[in-house]
């Protein structure tokens, strides 16, 4: 196990390096930050000066070399826009995103597993139909609809929660509620499908013959066998949350990494983009590693 983790960490490091190279060069294909940073009526002299100042006039390879050199000294460069170390900007935002992603995924996972399993237990039954319908509508409705409607209903009409922003626990309710919906729908469906197969297997019969009650049969015997695809999908959803929930951050004024990343990409604030990708990638790699370990924990037949 430990050697696996070590090997894996090394492999991830290589992909991280690949990622940096890829993002560095690809992002530089997308245009000149000067045009976006400076006002449209800026003079040519200002542009030249700007490029000089940020080293954008050097050959890309030189820029890359400099970036890597700095990176080795744990210097991610400064944000052009914000005139602060890019990594600070990113970590600030990522802390929020991480919290949001964690809380949401924990809730989603718990809820989706329960609902999906119960739906599978009586596949085709009333609860199954309702659960599927609701979760599917949730999963395929545009998220900004849900967000705006939620604000109109819960903040404006009912006044239960603030419309947006951060500060109190109440501020978290709407963003989490809205973020919850899509992964919930997806995971419910995956759990349901996987559980239907698991529940019709022979070992479930054994459990029934032992007199095990319905609940442990579903949640102990069948569920663990059904978990492989489920945790994969959970991982995928968590990864997209870690990459930032742009709509939610935009609408609810949530200072996460998603909007930061978009803004930085649109403004060609490369250092922030790179730092953000490095940080989220690290988180995602870590999560994937945990998931791969979880496979082995869940299913003893899988060995690395």
């Amino acid at each position: 196990m430990l050697t696996f983790v070590r090997k894996r960490a090394l492999a991830s490091l290589i992909s991280l390096v690949g990622l940096v190279v890829l993002v560095f060069f690809l992002s530089r294909l997308t245009g000149d930050p000067a045009a976006l940073f400076l006002p449209e009526d800026a003079t040519e002299a200002m542009r030249v000066q700007f490029r000089e100042l940020h080293g954008l006039n050097d050959p890309v390879l030189v820029q890359f070399g400099r970036y890597v050199w700095d990176l080795f000294h744990l210097d991610f460069g400064d944000s052009i826009r914000k005139a602060r170390p890019a990594i600070d900007v990113v970590l600030e935002a990522f802390t929020w995103t991480l919290q949001l992603a964690l809380i949401t995924m924990v809730l989603v996972t718990a809820a989706a597993i329960v609902v999906g399993s119960l739906a599978a237990f009586r596949a085709g039954g009333f609860f199954d139909r309702i659960a599927s319908l609701v979760s599917l509508i949730g999963a395929s409705a545009p998220d900004f609809w849900i967000a705006i409607v939620a604000i109109v209903v819960f903040s404006i009409s009912l006044g239960w929660v603030p419309t947006s922003g951060t500060g109190t626990i109440l501020h978290w309710i709407l963003p989490i509620g809205v973020l919850f919906i899509r992964p919930f729908g997806l995971i419910v469906q995956v759990v349901r499908g996987s559980m239907i197969s698991a529940l019709s297997s022979a070992y479930v019969k054994t459990a029934r013959a032992k007199g095990v009650r319905a609940r442990p049969i579903i949640f102990v015997h069948a569920l663990r066998n059904a978990m492989l695809p489920v945790i994969t999908v959970i991982g995928d959803q968590a990864a997209s949350l870690l990459n930032g929930a742009v709509v939610i951050e935009t609408i609810f004024g949530f200072p996460g990494v998603g909007k930061l990343m978009i803004d930085s990409i649109l403004q060609r604030d490369f250092n922030v983009v790179l730092a953000a990708i490095l940080v989220t990638a690290l988180a995602i790699f870590l999560m994937n590693l945990l998931i791969d370990l979880a496979y082995a924990v869940l299913d003893p037949r899988i060995r690395y």
Binding site: K205, T206, A209, K210, R301
Partner: protein, 542 residues
């Protein structure tokens, strides 16, 4: 009329399939009293397992349906109880040992956990349950019990799994135990122990034992009464002795007549160039030494029976010869070429020649393929064997040869009984017309009449086409009838290797002798005598 402990009255069960309704059980009735052992004998696929499953509410309904009947336990009709009431009975009052132990153990939990759960479900506290599990596992003869509890099902041999299953069923000391082919995968010494365990428990608690088996020896050893089933119906019932000595129904007569172990033993083969030479085979599972220096030769048309202790590495040997597992050392030459160093392309060519019938038929059949697809897959892979036009008729032919019916071709594996699945697996192996078939307990789940038919078929193929067999079995009478050579294994080592005659008539090694001594005779009287003798011996020594 006094209430019986468990009574089935006029039970009928049918299944829905794409090809129409299958009447699996037709209007059967039987009963079981406290302290009694009832054996259900019968043709494979005659509805034995289905009727047992009905008692524990384990038939999926739909597609199954109980169309009529009552199942009375302790004065109540089980079919009228609520699901939760039946749950309380299951495991505590009535327990079941399943026919197919691998698929019936949950692959993702340690076996210890699964046994403990049988106890905690019915209110035993965790610590006590753990101690009890340990005791049970020890009693069914699993080596290193403390360690075994932490292992997962796939880490056990077929016979070991079956014993774990038995331990699980016995956990709550139920009033009734339904044992579906509980000893098919056990070598005779272990089988004897398990039967003795059942007997002891029966003495202790007065439980009723319903044992489903095709092994007349087992019946003779422990059953008080016998019910004989054929094609979903009960054709005969009576005390074990009566039925054996004086069978009424033609099917029963056929069954008893087909009991193996009485025919001529094969004469010694004349020496020929061996097709397979195995030299010093080794296999480690981490520190565990599963195969320890196995060497033997196999000639074309020869049947080498491998017998031995459960867990002695028989299946491992088979898996390694077929390159399903990598050996840790040693060589195997197939027609002079080392099997273990072949390239994938060469291996592919060889695949046609080497086939295997797996010990666990359910798991080895792809659940999404019909029998037709399963059997004809061989020709899809090796199209040179048979032109496509003839597939249908050849499938039908193979099915008939193994005792199934052509119309079974459109069904899926889950729609068959354990024995039927085993025959599908045999038909599939035969479809390739290989030169060597490794049969891992290939006929162990078949009733003696079908078994005889299949063995005859294999013997014919052996003679006519020179197919060689490695025949892993624990059923000594079958081995006696079918084998040319016998290899006895224990703890990963070959203990003794010789012709059938040598082994059966002049066994040299004590283990072989013990093995032969533990064999059961289908005649209840003979068995009763042996039992007496054994008891006397025990009293004298103990």
């Amino acid at each position: 009329m006094a209430e019986h402990l468990l009574e089935v009255r006029n039970l009928s069960v049918e299944f829905h399939t794409a090809a129409g309704v299958v009447k699996a059980v037709k209007d059967i009735s039987w009963y079981l009293d406290r302290g009694e052992t009832l054996a259900i004998l019968g043709e494979s696929g005659s509805g034995k397992s289905v009727s047992a499953s009905a008692v524990l509410d384990l038939i999926d309904m739909p597609p199954g349906r109980i169309t009529s009947g009552e199942i009375r336990f302790d004065g109540k009709d089980l079919l009228k109880l609520s699901a939760s009431q039946r749950r309380d009975i299951n495991g505590r009052k009535i327990a079941m040992i399943f026919q197919d132990p691998l698929s019936h153990l949950n692959p993702v939990y340690p076996v210890g956990w699964q046994i403990v759960e049988a106890l905690t479900t019915h209110g035993v506290d965790r610590l006590a349950a753990h101690a009890e599990a340990l005791r049970l596992v020890t009693r069914v003869g699993i080596p290193e019990p403390e360690n075994a509890l932490k292992k997962y099902p796939h880490q056990f041999s077929g016979g070991q799994r079956q014993r774990l299953m038995i331990a699980m069923a016995l956990a709550m000391k139920p009033d009734v135990i339904i044992a579906d082919e509980p000893t098919t995968a056990l070598d005779v010494t272990v089988q004897a122990e398990v039967l003795r365990l059942l007997d002891e428990l029966q003495q202790e608690t007065g439980m009723g034992v319903l044992i489903i088996t095709h092994d007349l020896g087992v019946v003779a050893e422990i059953a008080d009464r016998v019910v004989v089933m054929n094609a979903g119906e009960i054709v005969e019932t009576g005390s074990t002795r009566e039925v054996y000595k004086n069978p009424q129904h033609p099917y029963t007569r056929k069954l008893i007549g087909a009991a193996p172990g009485r025919g001529e033993m094969h004469p010694p083969l004349e020496a020929r160039e061996p097709v397979l030479k195995v030299r010093d085979l080794q296999k480690y599972y981490s520190a565990f030494h599963a195969l320890d220096g196995v060497s033997f030769d196999l000639m074309p048309g020869e049947t080498l029976a491998v017998v031995g202790e459960s867990g002695s590495g028989k299946s491992t040997l088979a898996r390694i010869l077929l390159r399903l597992d990598e050996p840790s050392g040693g060589q195997a030459f197939w027609k002079g070429r080392d099997l273990f160093t072949l390239s994938p392309a060469e291996l592919f060519k060889l695949r046609r020649d080497l086939q295997m019938v797996f010990q666990d038929p359910t798991q080895s059949l792809n659940p999404r393929m019909t029998v037709y697809d399963l059997v004809s897959e061989a020709w899809v892979i090796h199209p040179e064997i048979l032109p496509k036009k003839q597939w249908r008729s050849r499938v039908a032919e193979l099915l008939v040869q193994v005792g199934l019916r052509p119309e079974h071709a459109v069904r899926y594996p889950h729609q068959f009984s354990g024995g039927q699945r085993q025959r599908i697996a045999i038909a599939r192996a035969l479809a390739l017309e290989p030169q060597l078939i490794v049969c891992d307990e290939a006929v162990s789940a078949l009733d003696v009449s079908v078994q005889a038919q299949v063995i005859d078929l294999l013997d014919k193929l052996r003679k006519e086409m020179g197919i060689a067999f490695i025949f892993i079995a624990h059923d000594l009478p079958v081995v006696r009838d079918f084998a040319d050579h016998v290899m006895v294994m224990q703890k990963g080592k070959v203990v003794e290797l010789g012709t059938v005659r040598q082994i059966f008539e002049a066994p040299k090694m004590p283990y072989t002798q013990a093995l032969l001594a533990a064999g059961l005779d289908p005649d209840p009287d003979v068995q009763a005598e042996r039992r007496e003798a054994r008891l006397k011996l025990a009293r004298a020594t103990g």
